[in-house]
Subunit: 156 residues, 3 copies
Amino acid sequence: MLSKQYEIEKIIMGRLSYDADLLEELTNFCNKNNIKTGWISVIGAVKNIKLGFYDQKMHQYVYPSDEDFVKSDFKKQNPELPDYEISSCMGNISIRDGKSFLHLHVVVSDRNGRCFGGHLMPGTIIYAGEFTIQVFKGEELVRGIDNETNLPLWVE
Amino acid sequence: MLSKQYEIEKIIMGRLSYDADLLEELTNFCNKNNIKTGWISVIGAVKNIKLGFYDQKMHQYVYPSDEDFVKSDFKKQNPELPDYEISSCMGNISIRDGKSFLHLHVVVSDRNGRCFGGHLMPGTIIYAGEFTIQVFKGEELVRGIDNETNLPLWVE
Amino acid sequence: MLSKQYEIEKIIMGRLSYDADLLEELTNFCNKNNIKTGWISVIGAVKNIKLGFYDQKMHQYVYPSDEDFVKSDFKKQNPELPDYEISSCMGNISIRDGKSFLHLHVVVSDRNGRCFGGHLMPGTIIYAGEFTIQVFKGEELVRGIDNETNLPLWVE
């Protein structure tokens, strides 16, 4: 088990832009502001959601299809209204390929309260979003490919 | 994109009261203790849940009905036992109309593990609840009505 | 309502071990490192999940069965692949019976994005896991049995 120790440098609270890509806007913000290590949470609402699921046998990400989401009554009845609440979104900031990299997992909820969750992918579009970033100071946390899982995990 | 920078002033951990309204008790606590900016998380169990979902076309909140929740086997079989775990609850504290205002999103789970989520509304009643509040110091974050979404979002 | 005030002592970020029991590895880490009060979040993926649900009438934990999870198309179609994303996992550290005790709630998601949640139990096995621990300093928070709920809640 790997662990590293940090101090809190500062907190940033903010509001994401209407129509922004959730992952892209936060990633750009961290890179522009030199935020290399930290923790993030987001709540809000999205106009579209893109989730990933890591297939532990195939060693690759797969994606719930629209057909899976159609099982939600909401989308079946309102195909033109793919809006969801971000009921939970949290994760961390560390370094991958020399840049600030955000690893966020998300749970979204539809009009009937039903939840869908997974790894946050590009393509998740903000309707309204409020984030809190805890910025840490200390030794950089860096991702490299892990042999066992084929995932970009933190390495010594 | 709007963002403001804060320092951590203190942390408060605590236990909510049996039969309290989750949103009301935390809001009163923040107002009484002059907590104007912060981040909150809660885990626990509730005796009743009231969720909101923001209809992005209608520009107003709608509410999953009891009928929607009935699709959960648990409530169908046990209508007199509407208890749920709070599997995730998190959000922020800022100022609205001159007072401390909490914006919390929640995921609850029923006896079969199935999840319902959304915007936390008054009417969610505590069975047991444990909260952590991070209190921030810095410039106030104030909500005003956003023209694009008709939501009370943070303004410059 | 009970509440206590803390300062942040430090932050620890780390990576859980492949095949570790999520709750056991984090609990051992806190006890070994003398972490008595804090807040934790985890994201990642698990090879198996064990959830608890507190029956508020029976005053005891019950557990979603495999049959409940089978309602997820994924497990029905892939009984040999019980992998889930940890879409949300958060909770607190306090003292119970003189030791560091972790109370964590979790939401996991399957291949179709569908979510299951509840109280994290031993038996939840890590595929990949990234945690953030906020370590607090201040008066110890201690659990004792609460008469009303029969739960080990924080006492004065």
